[in-house]
Symmetry: C2
């Protein structure tokens, strides 16, 4: 296999998704760190070589660069049991991954970033004004997940797939964004199940 | 093939993606309309039967329901030339589809919805305060697309894929959200190329 380099900021859940996928598959990744708080993903060199969108993570595969965390997980999991082979299940897995990027991450990850990393006192007025709506939308995403998980162990089928990995990344640290996970017991059970998967690594590893 | 029913709101670009994918593939879709302006996707029946997330589009495949526009396109395009077979290209196509849902749709589709459908005078103060940031972020998404398309006809490989279909849906009507497409000539060329694809249907069809 070509050499894999993860261009990342380690505390980011989006970067962690890729490390967790690689760990579950036993695939080694070299890691290269950028401090997003110091603008290290907006330098001319980063924009020209790694990702014109100025974001981490980007997975480097040999000489090619693949941005977007969920797409990088897809590449890694090609032809493995982390992607269901069944046509409907595969699309349904992607459905949860798109839900994650649209309904979950912008609320749950953003509030974690604003509250635990930037600090509320450093937010702009426009950002601060968005906190209540993002809290409500994040709670709705967690409630939907809880409902879905009420009678099943994983999001799609009978075993862990990329849908679980991608949703797990920011859900299991949602308390850092001000979400009380005790309200969603099925989500809590599922978090424990994902963390018990052979090969699992923690966000801080 | 099982009977396919698209639960939709016709002016939505997310719904149009699915109709365009089906049209390019020659797959017939039955269409069922919901007026999102009247809350028809938030009724108890809709939430229980169609999509617990209260959103259109949802593609009904026989007795099963698949929310998330890009996932529905994926299901439809299974084993067709709209999804590249090459491992990197397939992940790269998904990369653009995740970009669409994260960087493009929340800005370009939201401003179109707010300006052309809801009406600026009906927006909340919090919504109105977000317009400048969404304008800047939408322009950044279009600039990134323009740069990528400067030396190629389509987003991935040499022909139309789901990446083009999913990005086309809201890009070609971005003027309705206040974006001047003349600023991005490669995007304009690409819009013409997608519209020239055999089987193409327009948003209003």
């Amino acid at each position: 296999m070509e050499k894999l380099i993860l261009h990342e900021y380690a505390p980011s859940g989006n970067c962690y998704k890729i490390r967790l996928t690689a760990a579950l598959l036993g695939v080694p990744l070299e890691r290269r760190h950028y401090d997003i708080m110091r603008g290290e993903t907006r330098t001319a060199a980063f924009l020209a070589e790694v990702n014109a969108n100025g974001r981490i993570p980007t997975l480097q595969i040999g000489e090619r660069f693949l941005p977007e965390s969920n797409a990088a997980c897809w590449w890694l999991a090609h032809d493995t049991a982390l992607i269901p082979g069944d046509r409907f299940d595969q699309a349904d897995m992607l459905r949860w991954m798109f839900f994650e990027q649209y309904n979950h991450e912008p609320n749950i990850a953003t509030l974690r970033f604003w509250k635990a990393m930037v600090g509320e006192e450093r937010l702009s007025d426009t950002q601060r004004a968005q906190i209540p709506a993002r809290q409500v939308a994040g709670e709705a995403a967690l409630a939907l997940m809880d409902d879905h998980l009420s009678d099943r162990c994983f999001f799609v089928g009978e075993r862990v797939s990329l849908a679980d990995i991608c949703l797990y990344a920011y859900t299991h640290v949602a308390d850092e964004g001000g979400f009380d996970l005790k309200r969603w017991p099925a989500v809590q059970r599922w978090i424990a199940a994902v963390a018990a998967t052979p090969g699992y690594v923690a966000l801080a590893d």
